[in-house]
Amino acid sequence: MRGVLRGLVSTTSRMTVVDLEAGLEHLSRGTARHVDTLLLIAEPYFKSLEAAQRSFALAKDLGIGQIYLVANKIRSPRDESTVREFAGRHAVPVAGVVPYDPAVVEADERGTAVMDGRPDATSVAAIRQLADRLLTAA
């Protein structure tokens, strides 16, 4: 279905958000060419950050213009500084910091959208900020 995905992303005039397969190995050059922004979601621990950094290098090779790290499940200022320090060391820009949010766990358990049950959740506020940042950068 690579060609189908690429065809959709490349020719629709609508804004597109693609939830990719876990890991970037499946991302083809053809699809990547039509994606202008890649968000790499990482948790604040070494293996997750390392994986994001490898994906960053791969995506850069594929020629994606804007590649950002989005830190997720951040529980403390220390978590945030771990991510920022890592990102700084590898010159990966951070576009968002999403806190660990019990409302997400609850929504996952119920199989609902966080935004429907808890539109005021801290994670939703952080993702709203992320959206603002992406729209401003575009």
């Binding site: 279905m1 690579r2 060609g3 189908v4 995905l5 065809g7 959709l8 992303v9 490349s10 020719t11 629709t12 005039s13 609508r14 804004m15 597109t16 958000v17 693609v18 939830d19 990719l20 397969e21 876990a22 890991g23 970037l24 991302l27 699809t31 994606v35 202008d36 922004t37 890649l38 968000l39 979601i41 990482a42 948790e43 293996k47 997750s48 994986a51 994001a52 994906s55 995506a59 994606i64 989005v70 997720n72 499940k73 999403v98 997400v104 996952d108 199989g111 609902t112 959208a113 966080v114 935004m115 994670s123 939703v124 993702i127 709203r128 992320l130 959206a131 992406l134 729209l135 575009a138």
Partner: protein, 110 residues
């Protein structure tokens, strides 16, 4: 703007992608594409469970094989993207349409 969201399994990739799509759809038309082989973007966007589980596979006869330039073939859309999205997109709230890539079904084309 064409945004892709990637990450390790368990990183919260789908939650971020789904919530981001919802937030963006407050301002403009958004297509959310689920390219994960274990698709669960539908639930994250807020579709009821029954509806999320019932999203039909894309019929094979809307796709055609084209040379991939490397000696093989790949499936391509037979129709313009907007036609395809209108036909197979699942309404997921105001301004938001979901497409699940998955595997094509053979449908009537055999």
């Amino acid at each position: 703007m064409k945004i892709a969201v990637g990450g390790k399994g368990g990183s919260g990739k789908t939650t971020v992608a789904g919530t981001l799509a919802r937030v963006l759809a407050e301002r403009q038309q958004v297509v959310a594409l689920d390219d994960d082989s274990n698709p669960n973007l539908a639930v994250t966007l807020g579709l009821p469970h029954g509806q999320a589980a019932d999203i039909p596979a894309i019929p094979r006869d809307w796709l055609e094989e084209q040379p991939d330039g490397e000696g093989g073939t790949r499936l391509e859309l037979k129709v313009p993207a907007e036609v395809f999205i209108d036909r197979f997109g699942v309404p997921a709230g105001h301004n938001l349409t979901l497409l699940v890539m998955g595997q094509p079904s053979h449908g009537g084309s055999g």
